[in-house]
Assembly symmetry: C2
Homo-oligomer: 203 residues x 2
């Protein structure tokens, strides 16, 4: 079975530019990808990277110049086996999380991200389904599953829900991360617990 990981090869994680340099963002994005693809492989999945430009990486690379939804729906419509679609910025996800999603009896398993997003989907019959990311995509995906006559399970995971998008999200990675991305972040960022909400700050 395949896991498709959309990956932005240029100007990755731009919303972290308030706290990280371009080099740091590139490195962090790459290490998060490594953490996630490592987890996927350990769970027995073949990794497919979906990129907008050629990229050197130890995985099958699918390059598409289309928007994310069109590129993913092209992939789904030509898939002959179950597909997992997983975002490249959820480095807390574990092998157990992935295995639990694979073990679900539902036709579609949807793991929500914060703010109405969708961070992971496991789709048993890709030809019967399509995706619609952006906006409140969680609600859209639940509706698409229903309209397609497919059963949907909401996968309840803090790990999978924690996408690292903004400065505040780095706190989750710093505190809960067990992989190389977290290790890297901790080399130059510390937790600031001095007042109110916990933040990250340069060491």
């Amino acid at each position: 079975m395949k896991a498709v990981v959309p990956f932005k090869t240029v100007n990755a994680k731009s919303r972290l530019s308030a706290v990280l340099t371009a080099d740091e963002r590139t490195k962090l994005a790459r290490l998060m990808l490594d953490d996630i693809t490592g987890v996927l492989r350990e769970a027995g999945l073949k990794v497919v990277l979906l990129t907008t430009a050629p990229f050197k990486y130890d995985a099958e690379i699918v390059v598409s110049e289309k928007d994310l939804n069109s590129a993913l729906n092209d992939f789904l419509s030509s898939a002959s086996e179950p597909v997992m679609i997983i975002m490249a910025d959820i480095p807390l996800i574990t092998v157990k999380n992935v295995r639990d999603m694979l073990a679900s009896p539902a036709d579609v398993v949807i793991s929500p991200g914060r703010g109405g997003g969708t961070n992971v989907q496991f789709i048993k019959e890709p030809q019967k389904y399509h995706v619609d990311y952006y906006g409140a995509s969680f609600l859209d995906h639940m509706r698409i599953a229903g309209d397609s006559g497919l059963t949907a399970e909401v996968f309840d995971s803090f790990n999978a829900s924690s996408d690292i998008d903004e400065a505040q999200d780095l706190v989750e990675l710093h505190i809960h991360g067990k992989g190389r991305a977290a290790e890297y972040l901790r080399t130059f960022m510390a937790l600031d617990v001095s007042k109110g909400r916990v933040k990250v700050m340069r060491d």
Copy 2:
């Protein structure tokens, strides 16, 4: 077994005052409490409300003028059976979540909140443990468990991690909520998916 729910009876959910009136905050806080105590009872727990002032509610009420940590640690030190400590602002939590925590073999089960917080703890031997909320309490609680020679399990749940503290958190309640608090919120707030990050706005 008892579940202790700290509940602020005055000026509840003050960080929501940018988007909700005082009356709306009071009502939402009360409905979130109702949702959570309903879930706890269905999971077989006796509910204890820990308040700073007398409060009329269908539960055992413990009034303490001490700070949260001292009040909770007083409770733990005199407890003769396992105790769950659960925050009053996590209305997405389900009966299954609570039952899964109760079924853990660990001495302490810790369910993280966003930003380093601790939203639920299930403590098998309360006399051997103490709590330290505020700041990065998740790390503190993991350390306290270790220092006390207790095994700790991190409970991975998006539901339990979603505390409703700030305006942006209302999106989670609006999208994922199944209880009365969500129902109430939806009577006067709609989702705004017009641009970028999903928000809530008045109908």
